[in-house]
């Protein structure tokens, strides 16, 4: 450096007294991003088991995983989109519409499942893509645009079915494969689908360049754009994937219930967001984990099953679920703040 020389070495050496560095394994443990939801889940399991010993059995866990499947699959898509910084409130309507569409194709139009399933999935993806296009073109927050499409697709589902559910009354391989068949005692195939979807998206998010782009798009869009990340394309892709998974979740429900009603999936969007948030995904975008969301969905299913098993009055149900969600979120935030150094 030219110019006036600043005399170096004249400063007294700063004496720093650092607290003893915490052990590595402790740091590693606290660095687990899913720590909050893990703690919540373990605490709940302990409480429910103390109140009802029958809770801690493989049968119960099969139930819980099966019940978590529909919510979990949709929530994975929602999480993937939230990390990119957008919301989709229409997943419940997509769930119903795509499910009803599949049901109609297979019953009234006698289409082969090999055609009907991809067709309905494509449509579900198109619903998601439409959400993305509207949001990006109008620059209106996705929260608002998908609120609108939510009502639109729900209305269409009601209109084309007249409000009536569509059932398949004969034994159906399609339904078995989608969700009906019991794989091991109470564990149904829908739970297997959940694990497959979770694995695929865990890989996509964490192990590919695209996943890196998703985090950047949600974390700081302009910085990402400046480095050449096609942020708009990333968002559109994620909207589409959220749609596909919402439709897939509808198929799982169809498989499990042998019928599909246009009024189902009402609370799905908010529950999916809840599962994501319990699992540690940020509402601001830029951070989140697939594993966390799965655990969040499992937590919510555990609460539902557990409350029934311990004989809690139904009237306190939703209230209890709400309290746990809030506590889980607070736990996550507190862990993040207190142990920011862990990463």
């Amino acid at each position: 450096m030219g110019g006036k020389a600043i005399s170096g070495g004249a400063e007294a050496k700063a004496v720093e007294v650092l607290p003893a560095a915490p052990p590595e394994w402790w740091r590693r443990l606290l660095a687990i991003r899913e720590l909050g939801v893990l703690i919540a889940l373990i605490v709940l399991i302990i409480i429910f088991t103390l109140l009802q010993p029958a809770f801690l059995t493989l049968d119960t866990f099969g139930d819980i995983l099966t019940q978590a499947a529909e919510l979990g699959v949709a929530a994975v898509g929602v999480t993937f989109l939230m990390i990119a910084g957008e919301f989709d409130l229409s997943v419940g309507s997509n769930f119903a519409f795509a499910g009803v569409l599949l049901a109609l194709l297979v019953t009234q139009f006698s289409a082969s499942p090999f055609l009907a399933v991809p067709a309905a999935l494509l449509f579900a993806g198109a619903i998601g893509l439409l959400n993305g296009l509207i949001t990006l073109a109008t620059r209106i927050p996705s929260f608002i645009t998908t609120l609108g499409t939510m009502m639109m697709w729900r209305g269409l589902a009601l209109a084309i079915t007249g409000g009536w559910p569509i059932s398949i009354l004969t034994a159906s391989t399609l339904l078995d494969v989608l969700g009906g068949k019991a794989v091991y005692r109470t564990l149904r195939i829908s739970a297997v689908w959940l694990l497959i979807v979770a694995a695929v998206f865990w890989g996509l998010l964490g192990k590919t360049a695209y996943g890196n782009w998703v985090f950047a798009t949600g974390g700081k869009r302009e910085a990402a754009r400046a480095l050449g990340v096609p942020v708009n394309r990333v968002k559109l892709i994620n909207f589409t994937l959220a749609g596909v998974l919402a439709g897939a979740a509808g198929f799982l429900q169809f498989g499990r219930m042998n019928s599909m009603s246009p009024v189902w999936g009402d609370a799905l969007a908010l529950e999916a967001i809840a599962a994501a948030v319990i699992g540690g995904t940020s509402l601001m975008g830029g951070s989140g984990t697939i594993v966390g969301t799965i655990l969040g969905a499992i937590t919510m299913a555990s609460i539902r099953v557990g409350l029934v098993m311990v004989g809690a009055p139904s009237y306190w149900y939703t209230a209890f679920l709400g309290v746990v969600i809030v506590l889980a979120v607070i736990l996550n935030v507190k862990l993040e703040e207190t142990f920011a150094w862990r990463r």
Partner: protein, 323 residues
Amino acid sequence: MKKGILGALLTIALVATLSYAVRLPAAPQPLSFFVIAHTGPGDPFWAVVNKGVGDAGKMLGVKAVFQGPPSRDIPAQVNMARAAISARAAGIAISVSDPPAIGQVIRDARAKGIPVVAINVQEPADYKGQPIPYMAYIGMNEYEAGKNVARYLLPRIPQGAKVLIAMHEPGHVGLEARARGIREVLTAERGAKVETLDTTQDPTKSLSTMRAFLKANPDTKALFTLGPLGAIPAIKMIREDKLAGKIAMASFDMDATTIQAIKEGLVEATVDQQQYLQGFISVVQLYLHAKYKLAPTDYNTGRGLVTKETAATVESLVKQGYR
């Protein structure tokens, strides 16, 4: 990301170990009975069933629990039933709200050796014609009750008159049966023009839907609602729009609002389903079966109408939650 997988594996390992470590007896030691409906907290009707269930549990000294989702939700009901099965319930009473889905659940429960009785909705078979293996039905015959109450209102309905049925839960097989009974009697005896409207479970929507219909059809002579969720907004409308005397109303089931309206002459009659018995008797029957293997039997809970004459007596019981 490795940390995420590590965490997930830890959880699964922990849980699996604990599962294998815990060996359970065939059934939980205190007998527990589950009464599972397709809705619950949002409908005053079920609060009475809840009380019946609770009272029976207390009297018999067993755990008896009422479970139901806040509003009609078949998948949630199925989930609750499966949880009850996993809890090794000593007996389950369930409303057959959706024959295919609930039928399957009942079959699974029976296969696991859990006794099941049906309440509130009587569906002996699912849509395929396959019988649903519940051991007894405790509830009202909806169709007959519909005919019954329609007959009671015949004097107020001229030939060819317009009649409105407010359906607050389309797709509910029990309500549909009530409506069918009403429709048959009115068309056969009076050639009436009967219109069924979806008024939803939401009271505000219900009120505006009915009001709109009456505005379009001011010569409507009678209004039938199928339960408190339909009756409460309808009674409000009759009060506000001063329709007493111009339109005859009848309903099903009882709650304080409907009883009061009967006393005031705004409503002609309501069918008393005596749903307290649906909760109480089903628990008792399941208990007797669990303890002494006594076979449950069908029990018709709803035989009477409540009219102006009997309203006052019944009213205080409604307030206490028994009827």
